[in-house]
Amino acid sequence: MTVLRCETMPVRSQQDVVAVRQSVRSFAVAQGLSLVDQTKIVTAASELARNTLDHGGGGTARLEAVSDNGRTGVRLTFEDRGPGIADIARAMTDGFTTGSGLGLGLGGAKRLSNDFDLWSRTGEGTRVTITRWK
């Protein structure tokens, strides 16, 4: 896998979440994703950025334009050094929330992406990586 371009953004405020959505959109457009695929990855990014802010206490978003065996895509990594997720399987279940949300963010982000990877350790933090291919 080759990284053609990358950008790291802070996720420390609600305005940062808006800025992440907008930058993910421009990466997706530049990589030639269809309008529906752009919308899917921007929506997934919005869910994950909000989790980084609300549950992880803030962190970063890394945006990458990638290519692999002739296909191109957008890969996003959301990382924080927050409390981590105690029970990942439960957190992934639709409807499970420790906050006041709908509990759709993680499951929804997975469904809206082609590749989904979640790493988390209690007391250390959380890292979620998703990719949407053209």
């Binding site: 609600q14 529906v36 919308t39 929506t43 869910e47 639709d94 949300g101 759709l104 929804g108 809206l112």
Partner: protein, 141 residues
Amino acid sequence: MDRIPILRMGQFLIVSIQVDMHDRLALTLQADLAARISQTGAHGVLLDISSLEVVDSFIGRMISNIAGTSRVLDAETVVVGIQPAVAITLVELGLSLPGVRTALNIEKGMAMLREATAGFEEADAAGRNSLSECDDDSAAL
């Protein structure tokens, strides 16, 4: 921008969201709308989201909450102009906006609202009629 404008047209309130809202802005709109419905006694809310390129779970929840709160305050909500890509994404995200009426565009949305609130007009008219009957009765006495 720290507020989404709410326009009034007769017995309806009209909101057109033209910016990528951060979460607090969405919560402010929800509260402002509830206040305006109760102030004005509006019977309908038209929520135009045709400019929204993304509806995530937070905005989806805001839309459901607006429809739910309006109903409790005796007003109908119609959401108009959801972009096709947004609709596809919403379903995959797992949000089906239960209990939220939708229409393709503002014109159809207004027609839907008029139809949904026609009962209010009839009730108002009936109220006036019975009042004038009373007047007639008292005049006859």
